[in-house]
Amino acid sequence: MSEIGNDGVISYELKEFKLFEPLFKWARKKSLWIVAFCTGCGGIEIPPLATARYDFERFGIMPNPSPRMGDLFLITGYVTPKTLKRIIITYEMMQDPKYILAHGSCPINGGVYWDSYNVVKQLDRYIPVDVAIAGCMPRPEAVMDGIMEMMRRIEDGTADGWKRYRENYEYYRRNQDELFGEGWREKEARRWLAWI
């Protein structure tokens, strides 16, 4: 993260412990921590999910206030450009492996806000989405199903959004710059994260 804003390339340690990888995969599946960032109206369905009726803590899922420790980013609903900036920065602050679950119709194609001037139409162009749930608003069961799908994908290794983001960083970066204008990171993100 310390490299952000200099040349736009994020450096990664690529050391992988091949021996322990199956164990880690299992652990990743069983302990998904959600970044506490409700990005839209879908945030209203997170408290029911966390409480008695649905209780996702059974599966080791719990909200975590710090993006550094988070694994799962729930994009709960439509994304406005103003939020997308924060989403991108938060996503880049999270440490690999990290997963994105897009929640509702709006991140897929705009949903009811398909003609709104302030709603991002295709979230997939700006950050990699691993699993998307359709519906407005998706029922908690649907969200649970999405999380289960995410767990399955983590297990068989197809939840590779973080790898795609790293490999196709140019593409994502270009789309982001097209939307926000060049140099938005230096202008704005530096102010939010002055200590980095």
Partner: protein, 394 residues
């Protein structure tokens, strides 16, 4: 279009007002509170801190702006219901109702009695479930997770009833101009509602013991974020926040809509105007709302149609109300929620303007109250004001 530029002198003034353009002094620092934060939910406050005290707070909303008012101008009257209810997520029935009331007034429809009863019941259910949500939010902000978890589970009971009545959990798309979209499923639903109300009423004691009568809750909220009556009126603070300063203004009493002039309920008023008063007011109101629901159930739904009988409703997408405008408002848990609808006689509204209660207490009032507060008070003030960011952004 004529591009209207802001004059330069205005712009410079605006810049000086925004403190984040100034270099940070050494003994003070700035804190970006939200939107990635547990307390603020889609809302950002830029705090200029001096140690543990807040010197200045700048509210930075807009993370949820979808341009509803513009979108509503491009959609027919009845389609707008499915759009506008998204303004207030925790109680989505409120925007439905204000919009429907305003259109009813423009058209001149007398909504049938049965529909009125259903609308009142739905609104009160929305209020109770919003209070449950608020208990969860407030508990989480001050670090007491237990009652919140219970409350969110009780809210699920109302969600189940909503599902049976309307088909939706969060967004109901139920109240439409001229009535409601469908009838009550049957007497079983009414019985279930009564059971739920009884159940939640029985749980009030638990909430009292653990949250409202807790020594540390008092410590945390007493004397925090005090406003006086004059300040609240000048800042158009409404709802429980205004009643906590000693003004007995409740839309249900002062501008009665639906069945509220036939119902017997009290408007709790406290004088202190601090966070504790706001917390307690909300607790009393929850009790009152449960009482209102009981009265409504005792009254029972009147028989008759649930939708107004009008030939124009045959061709809904091309439904055209006459020219005119109307302002309707209801009492939501956050305050006075109003909508101003202008019709130019076409099949789309000419202008829909929604007044969210957080618009008044979520920006200037919040900035004023945060001045001089401690960092630990920020979530308390935010939650006792019951700030709802989508109201501000729309």
């Amino acid at each position: 279009m004529a591009d209207l530029e802001v004059p330069n002198e205005l712009r410079r003034e605006a810049k000086e007002h925004d403190m984040y353009l100034h270099p940070i002094d050494r003994d003070t620092y700035e804190l970006f509170f939200g939107p990635q934060h547990m307390a603020t939910e889609n809302f950002s406050i830029i705090l200029k801190m001096d140690g543990n005290r807040i010197e200045k707070a700048i509210v930075n909303p807009g993370f949820l702006h979808r341009g509803f008012e513009k979108l509503a101008e491009g959609r027919p009257y009845f389609t707008n219901i499915a759009l506008l209810l998204r303004i207030c997520v925790p109680e989505s029935d409120v925007p439905e109702n204000i919009y429907s009331m305003a259109v009813d007034e423009i058209v001149g429809w007398e909504v049938p009695e049965r529909a009125i009863w259903i609308r009142t019941t739905v609104l009160e259910m929305a209020r109770v479930s919003a209070w449950m949500f608020w208990i969860m939010g407030f508990g989480n902000e001050i670090g007491l997770y237990t009652p919140g978890q219970w409350a969110a589970a009780y809210r699920e009971r109302f969600m189940r009833l909503y599902e049976e009545l309307t088909g939706g959990r969060v967004y109901h798309i139920y109240t439409v101009p001229g009535g409601v979209r469908r009838d009550i499923p049957g007497d079983r639903w009414l019985r279930q509602l009564r059971d739920t109300v009884e159940y939640v009423k029985g749980k009030m004691k638990d909430f009292d013991e653990i949250l409202f009568d807790n020594y540390i809750t008092f410590e945390r909220t007493e004397g925090v974020g005090v406003m006086d009556k004059r300040f609240a009126l000048k800042h158009a603070v409404t709802g429980p926040n205004l009643r906590a300063t000693g003004v007995p203004y409740d839309v249900r009493k002062d501008d009665p809509y639906y069945l509220y002039d036939q119902l017997d309920f009290e408007v709790p008023v406290l004088k202190e105007g601090d966070s504790l008063a706001r917390v307690l007011i909300r607790r009393y109101e929850l009790e009152q709302d449960l009482y209102i629901l009981e009265q409504l159930l005792d009254m029972g739904p009147p028989s008759g149609p649930y939708m107004v009988q009008d030939a124009r409703l045959k061709a809904l997408p091309r439904f055209k109300p006459p020219k005119g405008d109307a302002y309707a408002h209801v009492e939501s848990t956050k305050g006075d929620f109003g909508a101003y609808v202008v019709s130019d006689g076409s099949h789309k509204p000419y202008r829909v303007h929604v007044r969210g209660p957080s618009q008044s207490h979520g920006v200037t009032v919040l900035e004023e109250l945060l001045k001089g507060a401690r960092l630990a008070d920020v979530p308390v003030i935010l939650k006792t004001l019951d700030n709802c960011p989508p109201d501000i952004d729309r």
